[in-house]
């Protein structure tokens, strides 16, 4: 299945939504009140859930229209967005090892995506050999 361009676009949108969702969750837990009313009025948590849910639906739809080897690495973009959001909105200390770690994760997810594409040479040999 050829990956359609709009699937790539959708996954990119999904990554922004997922990162935003995690930011909202973090904000929600920073203002966390453990009570029934506290949870109902924690608008950060509620909006985080909605944003996450929408992102997941978009992702499921996009996966139907594209190959994992292409779409998987794009999903790893959320870690970059979350680092940026954490640094600029939450003013967290983002150190060089953390940035390098996220780069490694990106490479790792890309590798797994590519690995999911590979056909086993043994299978092909059996087909040809008859």
């Amino acid at each position: 299945m050829k990956t359609k361009l709009f699937a790539v676009f959708l996954v990119a949108i999904c990554t922004i939504l997922t990162a935003a969702g995690s930011l909202l969750f973090k904000l929600g837990m920073m203002n966390f009140v453990f009570s029934f009313v506290g949870l109902l009025t924690n608008y950060y948590l509620i909006s985080g859930l909605i944003v996450y849910g929408v992102g997941l639906l978009i992702l499921l739809f996009a996966l139907k229209n594209g190959e994992l080897s292409v779409l998987y690495p794009i999903t790893a973009l959320t870690y970059i967005w979350s680092l940026l959001l954490a640094a600029f909105i939450l003013h967290e200390n983002v150190s060089y090892p953390e940035v390098f770690g996220v780069v490694l994760i990106l490479l790792g997810v890309s590798a797994i995506g590519k690995g999911s594409m590979m056909r086993s040479p043994i299978k092909i040999k059996n087909k040809v050999g008859g």
Partner: protein
């Protein structure tokens, strides 16, 4: 706030639940022919429940750590999903997947070192 070790531990646990949740979602979508089979499939609800548990555990983790540290830990779910697919879905391991797993583990380790 300095990130606590227990928060990272919870994030790891959350990544495991996420992976199993995705696994059941994949099982569900494999058997889905139309809307009816989708919603009647018990595995859908198991997957949703696993995702819910993953979310709750992850939220508790946020109580004890920075977003920039806790969130990347959930990338471990890619590792678990890969291993689950090989063990239960008869997918095959290859050197790309091994390298990918190693890179993600190294990346999460580096991020964990940051605390």
């Amino acid at each position: 706030m300095e990130t606590q070790l227990w928060a990272i531990g919870l994030a790891v646990v959350a990544s495991v639940f996420t992976a199993f949740g995705s696994f059941f979602m994949k099982l569900t979508s494999d058997k889905t022919k139309d809307v009816k089979t989708f919603f009647l499939n018990g595995k859908l609800y198991i997957g949703a429940l696993l995702y819910a548990v993953a979310t709750i555990v992850g939220l508790i983790a946020y109580l004890g750590g920075d977003l920039s540290i806790i969130y990347p830990v959930c990338a471990l779910s890619y590792v678990w999903i890969c291993l689950l697919s090989v063990k239960y879905l008869k997918e095959e391991m290859n050197k790309w997947k091994w390298m990918g797993i190693a890179a993600i583990l190294a990346g999460v380790f580096l991020i964990g070192l940051g605390i």
